[in-house]
């Protein structure tokens, strides 16, 4: 009898004005199939299905009834889409607008699946994301025209970049696979550790029991001193065992870490491809210091520096006269082949015009200051 009570209550409530309408609304949206008007109360395992063609929900009975014999029109009034049985599925979200948006986003994401690494700069990547988001928004909540345009763009992109998309998808899948494998390996390692710990505890317990028994035995035999010694030996041995086991475990985990793609730290960014070797750093930007016009020889000297060569004030500090020679020789020959007149005329370096405008600029700034004063 108690089963009958709710409908009775409902009919009773129906008579009493405003409360009934809200209850009816609740039933309408949540528990009543809008096609066959069956309510959940009558069919406990009623399931609502939607078709992503039009996102009109109906109960599974209606779907079976209407679409078992092949494609048919959507039973909603005014919706003329042709639906197939195969397309129906249960909605994940209660709000079908959200369901639809998620579907669209999934679809767009499958097409526009570039990663940040594919872009030269972060700015490019952000611009790309912005473009994708705009497109998605048009698809989700744009006007018809916008939606059509976005759809066209999407399909065009898909057609043009099929290979890229496929590659990215594969890469994504591989990354997923890898992370899954890593997680699994970690879980497995944790499981092994747990088992090991259990086994150890067990063993220790057994050991303790045995040593206790031995102790008791020895006490019974009246050899107190020997028992203490045995205990100490026992303890020491156990400490050794623990230490050796720790070392073993460490080695083992190392090996395990090496096995699992060398990635034992979670959240560590994967190393990118190593940049091509570019040779040692050259602080002088390619200038070389081998003189081409003269040779540094020991006999190069000057009367002007001879007296310093025996001056304790100069030689004590370790002053190297070769340095002076090298510098003097360099300055004697540096720029001999630089013909300023020719080079500056053709505009290597700063031209006269530049300098003039620059000085005019300085003067102008000065003028402004003065006028302010």
């Amino acid at each position: 009898m108690s089963r009958r009570a709710p409908p009775g209550a409902r009919t009773g409530a129906a008579g009493s004005g405003s409360t009934s309408s809200s209850a009816l609304a609740a039933i309408n949206t949540e528990d009543m199939c809008p096609v066959c008007k069956t309510i959940r109360y009558l069919n406990k395992d009623m399931e609502f299905l939607i078709n992503p063609e039009c996102y009109h929900s109906m109960c599974s009975n209606c779907v079976n009834r209407l679409f078992n014999d092949g494609p048919n029109q959507c039973p909603y009034a005014g919706c003329h889409r042709t639906l197939r049985r195969k397309g129906f599925r249960s909605a994940f979200f209660g709000d079908l607008a959200v369901e639809r948006e998620v579907d669209i986003r999934r679809r767009v994401a499958a097409v526009f699946n570039q990663a940040e690494d594919d872009f030269e700069t972060l700015r490019d990547y952000n611009n790309y994301l912005q473009m994708v988001e705009d497109l998605t928004f048009d698809l989700v909540s744009g006007t018809d025209a916008q939606r059509r345009a976005a759809e066209a763009t999407l399909q065009q992109w898909e057609a043009e970049h099929k290979a890229d998309i496929e590659r990215n998808r594969k890469a994504g899948r591989e990354a997923d696979e890898q992370s899954r494998r890593r997680l699994a390996a970690e879980r497995e390692a944790a499981r092994l550790r747990r088992i090991e710990a259990l086994r150890e505890a067990e063993e220790e317990k057994r050991e303790r029991a045995r040593s206790r028994e031995e102790e008791l035995d020895s006490l019974a035999h009246g050899e107190a001193g020997a028992a203490g010694g045995a205990q100490r030996v026992q303890l020491k041995k156990r400490g050794q065992a623990v230490a050796s086991r720790a070392v073993e475990a460490a080695v083992k985990t190392d090996v395990a870490a090496a096995d699992v793609g060398r990635l034992s730290i979670r959240g560590l960014k994967e190393k990118k491809k190593a940049p091509p070797p570019e040779g040692p750093y050259d602080p002088f930007g390619g200038l070389d210091f081998v003189p081409s016009r003269y040779k540094l020889r020991p006999e190069l000297t000057h009367p002007g520096i001879e007296k310093y060569k025996v001056d304790p004030a100069h030689i004590t500090g370790g002053y190297n006269f070769d340095e002076y020679t090298a510098r003097a020789m360099f300055e004697a020959f540096a720029g001999l082949g630089v013909f300023i007149e020719d080079e500056k005329e053709v505009g290597i370096g700063l031209s006269a015009g530049d300098v003039a405008t620059m000085s005019a600029g300085i003067a102008a700034v000065g003028d402004n200051k003065m006028e302010l004063a």
Binding site: R293, A328, L336, I340, E341, G349, A356, M370
Partner: protein, 459 residues
Amino acid sequence: MATEDARYRQTSQYQLWSFSPTQLAAMRENTNAAARTRIADRLASLPAASSNTSAPTSSVNTPDPEGAATPALPEFLTAPEEAQLMNFNTSELLRAGDHAEMPDEIKATAAAFFRRFYVTNSIMTYPPQQMLIVALFFACKAEGSFISITEFGKQFGKDNPEEILAGEFLLCQGLRFAIDVKHPFRALRGAMMELSTLPDIEARQVPSPLPREYSLTLLFQQRDRLAAAEHRAREILRFSALMTDAYFHYTPSQIMLAALSLADRGLAERLITQTFHYVAPPPLSDNSGVDTPATSGPDALSNNTKKAAAPRSHNNNNNNSGQDKTQMIGSQIRDRVLGTIETCRDLLSKELPERREHWTNKAVIKAQIAPLRKKLTKCHDPDRWNLVELQRVRREQAAKKAGGGGGSDDGEPDDRTLDGDAAVFGEALPVPPKRRKVGAGATGGGAGQGKGDPFGGVL
């Protein structure tokens, strides 16, 4: 390209301060024209009673103080007149350096600074007689000889160091902050080193055709000859190179060789032919030499044949390095170097060291310089002529600009309230304790106008 040249091309002297003669002349014309228009504007905008700003500032003897206040525009200096005045002031600068017993390098640096400054600034704008002292002081610092400003001021009878310091930053700006000047003095030593090794080695190994006078009989005189040549060349470098525009048009080694050539032509040519001795190897010897565009007609041809007559011991048949060598020490480049040094020599010979007397000659000064100075007192820039005043005004401007938001003159300098757009970002950040301390110290120490000044109060 020779590594030495590549390294020289990296210097600021080459990149910023090397010009061809036409460029330099154009720049000076520009500077002169700009100064004229600006000063004309300023003079026109001055009120009639302007004598208080301009009269007492110039250190030149002002024969007629009333002349400056005439409403009609004065006659401006032309660019050649400016050049004349600048040369005179350069000689004054060198004389001042001698008076203070400064080393050659400092004097040379100061002279270079001075001439560079007046490329983009007119003599009518900033007072040259003060700027040359500033240039000397700054050159001391640039050459690593740090002399105290009071000491320095005393040497030139300037009790107020502010007069010197006021122009310092101005000078730096005018130099475009390129304060490393490459001088030919050490280069001269290098050349002497190279030359002193030449005769005894070369005379034995290779009979060189050019310098016939370097026979073995004269060997014992070499040292004296070298010393004399070096002395003379150094004299030239100390005066002629600085009094002319040589630093703008030629590299230090070229100036050095030109000076050496003035002192002893044979030595300089010997050094150049010795350096650029390379002859292309036989397979591409004479024809290739003529084909290259750098050669200059029959002259090069004759040189090539001369070279061929004097074969040298080069057994380098590698083509590639051969071309490199031709580029670096080949005979074509030697001809160009010789030509450049010849022009530089002409330039230097305009101001031989004997001209020192010319620039200090009373009669010459009276005849040539005094009229220009007289002109200058009438046409100088009324706003810029007094450097101390100029600097004070600029500092006030800067302080006003920097202190616009916070810290006015009397108020608490750390007035941390924000107004306007800045308030969008929330409350002001707390001042770190050290900064607060410094701020407090500044309010305690600096008096009056020095408070808003980043460099502290008046010295």
